[in-house]
Each structure stands twice: as structure tokens, then as C-alpha cells.
Amino acid sequence: MSYLLVAKPQPKSPMKTLLYLLAAGLMIFSVGCEGDGNALSGTEQSATVGSLSGSYARLIAVGNYLYAVDQTDLITFDASDRDDPREMHRQTIGRAVETLFHHSGNLFIGSREGMFTYTIQNDGVPQRRGEFAYSEVLPMAEPCDPVVANDNVAYATLYSDRSVSDPCGRTQRIQMLVAMDITDLDDVQLIRTYEVPSPRGLALRGDLLFVCNDASGLTVFDVANPSDIQMLSRLTDMEAWDVIAKDDVLMVVSTTELIQYDYSDPSALVELSRIPMPRT
């Protein structure tokens, strides 16, 4: 259709102009997905972290600082006065930024283009380290991608409703778990990808990785060997959108429920409670 050719961009701001340019340059990769973002880091529980968030978080607290992402930027707030957080730094990350995760002074940011690593400096400002472009594993797609990490490995779930044609003309849905070697934050390397049904939020705790599968439930993996993770159990009697793994309690949120499990035996989670809210 001719309208494809005659459309005239009318940028409304410099930011938008930049986005147009980026988008134009990246059209070839523009089959994308939109995930809502709340990447939590169920795995994170260092002493400096007062709260744990699910993997779709876009705003997290680390020590006296707040970090937030919007579509393009990483924003640092000084919250040493808890009643008056102040923006102290802002830097551009990239495009279509979705999720923010913290582990041991490092930030892991998921966008539809890839995963970015930052190290929080002494002054609280994160410094860019490296990135892993999802085009390495998904040349045609822009997935949704919450990410979690420990000292050595980051895991991201990549999901897109949009079917993607491969070079042989076959189509496939994107539903992938990516394990990345982050031993060197400046040089993130692919370890392996795994196919996982409808992957959404995830949480990492020790050698256990919990992956929400939306309407397909939740899967527990043993990730002692990131290049050969093993499924320990799968719950199918529930929906799962995002998850926090805290101590021995797994907190799972779906669209309409909060469900908690005892995961001390990860091969057989025990349901502790399930509340279709409200329960008063």
C-alpha cells in the first residue's frame, strides 16, 4: 500500500526525533513485543536492599538510592531523605527499556533489544559496562525480557506473541530462556538458550530458577549447571506473571491472585495460601 511510503514523520520533540531515527535504522529488527515491566529480582537479598521486587520492576531501591528506568533512560535518585527523593543523574540506555534488576552493586536492564549491565559507583551513579544483544539469538524479534542474575550468570526470558519467520519460511513463537555468562560484565557471553512455554517473570535463588509461564503455570529449574539446566517441577494449576523467592517462601502474582509456596523441596512445592483478593 502506498501509505507505507508516504507517511511523513512529524516528530514532536528531539527525543521523538531520536526515536524515529533509531526506529528507522532498526526497522529490520522491529518485530517486537511489549512486556509490561516489573522485573523483580527475587534473588536479591543483600543487606543493602531493603525490599525485594519482582522481575518486572522498573523502579528499585538500593541503599539510599532509587533507580528507575523509563523507555530510554536510567534515572538515579538520591533518597537519603526518604521523604524527599531527588533526581541526581540521568543517562540514556537505549530504546524500549523494560525492566531493572539489582545484584551485588550491579544493575541488569532488560530492553527489547538486549540486556545491559551497569555497575553502581561509589557516588551512586551507575556506569555502563556491557550488553548482550538479543539479535544474537533472535535475529527477527524484539522480545519482552525480564532478567535476573547472580554473580556469574544472568537469565532473561524472551517472549513474543508475534510469530517470526525463520530463513526457511517456518514460523515460530518466541518463548525462550537465555542464560548469559556475566563473569565479565563488560563482555557478556551467551551460554545457552532454552525453550520455555510463555515465559514471563522469573526469580533466582541459589541454584533454583523460578520461571512464570503465564497461563501455563510456573516452572522450577535446577541451574547448578547453566549450560544444562534441569526442570525440577512444574505447577499447572495456576497462572503466574511474576515471582519473588524469599527465604523459603515463593510469592507468585498472577493477574488476579497472589499465591505463596513453600519451596524447601523444590521438586514438590507446597501451596501455603492463595488469595483471590481481597481477603480481609
Binding site: A7, Y20, E34, A61, A96, V253, T255, S273
Partner: protein, 191 residues
């Protein structure tokens, strides 16, 4: 920050992003408004669903516990659990006993998409603003700080949809969602 931009963002940009979050759709990258000669009479496309916040979109307050409608995130600081209900607010749950969690309050926060807890304060986005909320008494939440226009999200188009759509009009409210519809004279299109 420049006030003009701030108000623009608050009214215009962040809501749109929230919508696409709700949809979880595959996305496209750009949209455009159309020249007059490009506007079709009537086509199948998408139109905005506006959120009626029932008043001031900056008004934040506690309500009794209510059903979770669009769970989008979870935060905990120990015994308390906070469930983000996309666009509408945060459920506060006493999780002292995970076998018997008790819903205490719902904090109405228009346009909320993400929230965290810092030193007992609930910090969340209220559309494009960052708000700090005293929840010492969750049934009587009080905003103690607001920083306007911080979130430059810019997805005021139906992410993941390719075709004509009715342009988002910020004067009509907060953009909550997009719906399929036969639309007349749409002046916007994704590509």
C-alpha cells in the same frame, strides 16, 4: 524541570506506555499521523480506551481492600507484600504469616506501573510523576513528595498493532488500553 514539559508528560506520555504494558503484545516501533489525503473513511483498526480516574489523576489515597484486577508486579520488604494493580493502585498485604496473608488496604495511584519500598515509604509512579507515600498507616496513605514529569515514556500508540488507529487525545483522559473497532477517519497509523 521545565513545567511545560512536565505537565505534557504527565498528561500525555506515561499513560500511553502503561497501556501497552497491559496488552503484552508484540510491538512495532513507530507511528505517524497521516496527511489528509491518506485518511481512510472507515476501516478496521484500533482506538484508545481512556481511563476514568474519577477525579484528579494526582489524587492518591487509601481505599478498603479490593479484588486484584490486573496484577503487574510484586514487592516485599519483609512482612508486608505490595501487589501492583496496573494503572489503578497498590494492594497492601500483611504477610506476617504466608499461610494466612491479610489484605489491609488498597492505595489508589492512577497510572501506576511500578513501585518499590524504601525505608518504609512506598515509592511509585503516578503517571509520569514519582511519588513518595507515607504508609505508616496503610489505611491512611499520605503523599509526602512528588517529582513531576520524570518518566519519559512515549508509547502513545497501539504497540504491536500494524495499521490505522484513532489518535490518542490526551485531553480525553489517561490512555488505558486499545481496542479493536471500526473507526472513521483515523488520522494515525503504525508502521
Amino acid at each position: 524541570m521545565h513545567l511545560g514539559l512536565a505537565s505534557h508528560l504527565q498528561a500525555f506520555r506515561f499513560p500511553a506506555l502503561v497501556l501497552s504494558a497491559a496488552l503484552l503484545l508484540p510491538g512495532c516501533s513507530i507511528w505517524d499521523s497521516l496527511a489528509p489525503e491518506e485518511v481512510p473513511d472507515e476501516v478496521f483498526g484500533r482506538r484508545p480506551v481512556y481511563l476514568d480516574v474519577g477525579g484528579d489523576p494526582q489524587s492518591i489515597y487509601s481505599l478498603p481492600p479490593r479484588a486484584l484486577r490486573n496484577g503487574a508486579g510484586i514487592v516485599t520488604d519483609g512482612i508486608w507484600l505490595y501487589i501492583i494493580d496496573l494503572n489503578t493502585g497498590v494492594h497492601v498485604i500483611d504477610n506476617t504469616d504466608p499461610e494466612d496473608p491479610i489484605s489491609i488496604a488498597f492505595i489508589w495511584i492512577p497510572g501506576v506501573r511500578t513501585a518499590t519500598i524504601l525505608d518504609g515509604r512506598l515509592i511509585a509512579n503516578n503517571l509520569g510523576d514519582l511519588v513518595t507515600i507515607n504508609i505508616d498507616d496503610p489505611t491512611n496513605a499520605q503523599v509526602v513528595d512528588r517529582d513531576s514529569g520524570l518518566f519519559l515514556d512515549d508509547l502513545n500508540f497501539p504497540e504491536g498493532f500494524f495499521g490505522f488507529f484513532e489518535c490518542y487525545d490526551p485531553s480525553r483522559g489517561i490512555l488505558l488500553d486499545w481496542e479493536d473497532a471500526n473507526i472513521r477517519n483515523p488520522k494515525c497509523r503504525t508502521f
